[in-house]
């Protein structure tokens, strides 16, 4: 436009018709470029799978419809944190001919419930002098489940519960596992009569069996902080470790409860079964570190959240005093507690200055002292940095948790 105006007036000023002629194509381009009406474009977004596991690849298809042909349409897809387009940014410049579909291949890098979208459109008019931009709130929820390790062994529970599970009790009673034979007494079921022994001894004898029991396991997730460890964070380790234990123990017919103890307090009462597995999966997807100054106490939890004689497995980086106090409270309340320390001291590098190195050493000493205080109070602290599997770390858990032996000074 400026070149056209300058050429036109320059031509008039100098009286040179050739310079006026130079202005004409630019005037034509301006007239052709600024007159088109804003285009009407319909957008539909589809994802190849709305549920996937960390590391899976997804295909996002954006279908654009319009009447006629639109050239030079820039399409951009907003991707949430934890998802990345495989071939550079998720944007493309296309030509829409009535209906055109653009596909982006993305990789789900981190677990979580993630909203894919919105879709941004930029349509250039012919001549590219003006453009029309629209952001369409077309979002799709994609649930990315954490990749977890398959455990071969369960954690040994200190106490079993009365629900039917996979643990065989040492006591005698109703069950499948044969225990003993004894003379019939009143109240015994006729179904338990051992006819072979009865005919040999001449009086009624019944079979006794070991009853099947289950265990209550509560996973306590410290979500006060999330420390970045490079390719993983402490929260990633927490969720992956919790998912592994949940999967193994649910398969073992145990009752699993969850407590997310952090800036926001969330819990899931202990239960078992397939429905509960889905409930836990959704719970784990929503786990995140929320910054908060508020003090939280385990008294704030509903009574059923920590069932009596449950085994509490806590995942914590052991850096927030509120979490340390809560763990102390759980130990003092008589629960068998195992703490899994998900923060490796060596994964945090000191700063370049000499005073940074001194501060780093002091911090390591403080953490070492915290772990020692827990251990001396009878609470095992198992370090797990994620390099080796969670099974290797859990192998170091005591077969029988110790009794709480005093307050932990945090």
């Amino acid at each position: 436009m400026a070149i056209a105006a300058l050429s036109f007036y320059g031509g008039l000023w100098t009286g040179q018709a050739e310079i006026v002629a130079v202005a004409i194509p630019f005037v034509v381009a301006v007239v052709m470029g600024v007159t088109p009406p804003p285009p009407e474009i319909g957008v539909a977004v589809a994802v190849s799978s709305e549920r996937c596991i960390e590391g899976d690849r997804l295909e996002i298809a954006i279908t654009l419809t319009c009447e006629g042909t639109l050239s030079d349409v820039q399409v951009g897809m907003g991707l949430p944190a934890g998802m990345r387009a495989l071939d550079g940014p998720a944007r493309d410049t296309i030509l829409i001919d009535n209906e055109t579909t653009v596909c982006f291949e993305v990789i789900a890098e981190r677990w979580g419930a993630r909203w894919v979208g919105p879709v941004a459109l930029k349509v250039h008019a012919p001549g590219r002098l003006i453009s029309f931009e629209r952001i369409l709130q077309q979002r799709i929820l994609v649930k990315v489940f954490p990749e977890y390790e398959r455990l071969r062994r369960t954690l040994p529970p200190p106490h079993t519960q009365m629900y039917t599970g996979d643990y065989v009790s040492r006591h005698s009673g109703d069950g499948i596992e044969f225990a003993n034979v004894r003379p019939f007494s009143s109240g015994d079921s006729i179904r338990n009569v051992n006819w072979r022994v009865t005919s040999r001894r001449g009086e009624l004898h019944v079979n006794l069996a070991h009853p099947e029991r289950d265990a209550d396991i509560v996973l306590f997730l410290d979500t006060f902080s999330d420390v970045d460890l490079g390719n993983k964070s402490t929260l990633d380790l927490t969720v992956a470790g919790a998912a592994a234990i949940v999967e193994r123990h649910l398969r073992h017919n145990d009752r699993i409860g969850l407590v997310s103890f952090g800036g926001t307090l969330r819990w899931l009462t202990a239960s078992m079964g397939r429905t509960h597995a889905y409930r836990i999966a959704d719970f784990l997807l929503d786990v995140n570190a929320t910054f908060s100054y508020a003090w939280k106490h385990i008294e704030g939890l509903p009574r059923k959240t920590l069932p009596p004689e449950a085994l509490v497995v806590a995942f914590s980086p052991l850096i927030d005093k509120r979490a340390l106090r809560a763990l102390q409270g759980i130990g003092a309340a008589g629960f068998s507690l195992i703490v899994i320390d998900v923060l490796n001291d060596n994964s945090i590098a000191p700063g370049p200055k000499p005073e940074d190195r001194v501060a780093h050493r002091v911090w390591k000493l403080q953490r070492s002292a915290t772990r020692t205080r827990f251990r001396s109070a009878g609470i095992p602290v198992i370090p797990w940095s994620g390099r080796a599997g969670i099974e290797a770390a859990l192998a170091r858990a005591p077969r029988r948790a110790k009794r709480f032996e005093g307050p932990v000074r945090t």
Partner: protein, 171 residues
């Protein structure tokens, strides 16, 4: 594709920069203008920064205008082609910029962009020729007459553009 378009733009830029030197005696200011314009063109193509493109074409036009003023007498009959050349040069620089700066551009889009430019080039060339013709009819007259002729030429161009737009929108 970027290098192909850059090469085409460079070639066109060199032609447009050297052409005024053939119209008038190649005095130093004209050479300096050509060198500055071509330097800006090189920067525009290498950095894909639109800010260099406008001044580049403006200086090329200024060089052409200066050469026309210096060359007394004859009407330059190639001026419609030169005018279209400036527009094509800007379009080429814009295409290079789009390839570098915006989302990946498919070949079909580039082709359509080129096709969209063709009507403007054709109509612009006809319009420029009409303006040249109109000015030659009223040459030697008052500058006001030239302005009126140019306005008439623009009116004709606008009418042609409206017709072309209608034809394009129905297709």
């Amino acid at each position: 594709m970027r290098w192909l378009l850059s090469a085409a733009a460079s070639l066109l830029g060199i032609v447009l920069g050297l052409y005024p030197l053939t119209l008038a005696p190649p005095i130093t200011p004209l050479i300096i203008m050509a060198v500055v314009a071509l330097t800006l063109l090189g920067l525009a193509l290498s950095t894909a920064w639109w800010l260099f493109a406008g001044p580049c074409v403006a200086i090329l036009i200024l060089e052409y205008a200066s050469a026309l003023v210096l060359a007394s007498g004859n009407v330059d009959l190639l001026s419609p082609a030169v005018a279209v050349g400036y527009l094509v040069l800007l379009e080429l620089i814009d295409a290079v910029r789009a390839l570098v700066r915006q989302a990946p551009v498919r070949r079909s889009v580039l082709k359509k962009m080129g096709n969209d430019t063709v009507p403007a080039i054709v109509i612009g060339a006809i319009g420029a020729f009409c303006a040249l013709l109109a000015s030659s009819i009223v040459s030697g007259g008052h500058p006001l007459l030239l302005a009126i002729a140019a306005a008439a030429g623009l009116g004709a161009v606008a009418f042609a553009v409206a017709l072309a737009r209608r034809a394009l929108s129905t297709s």
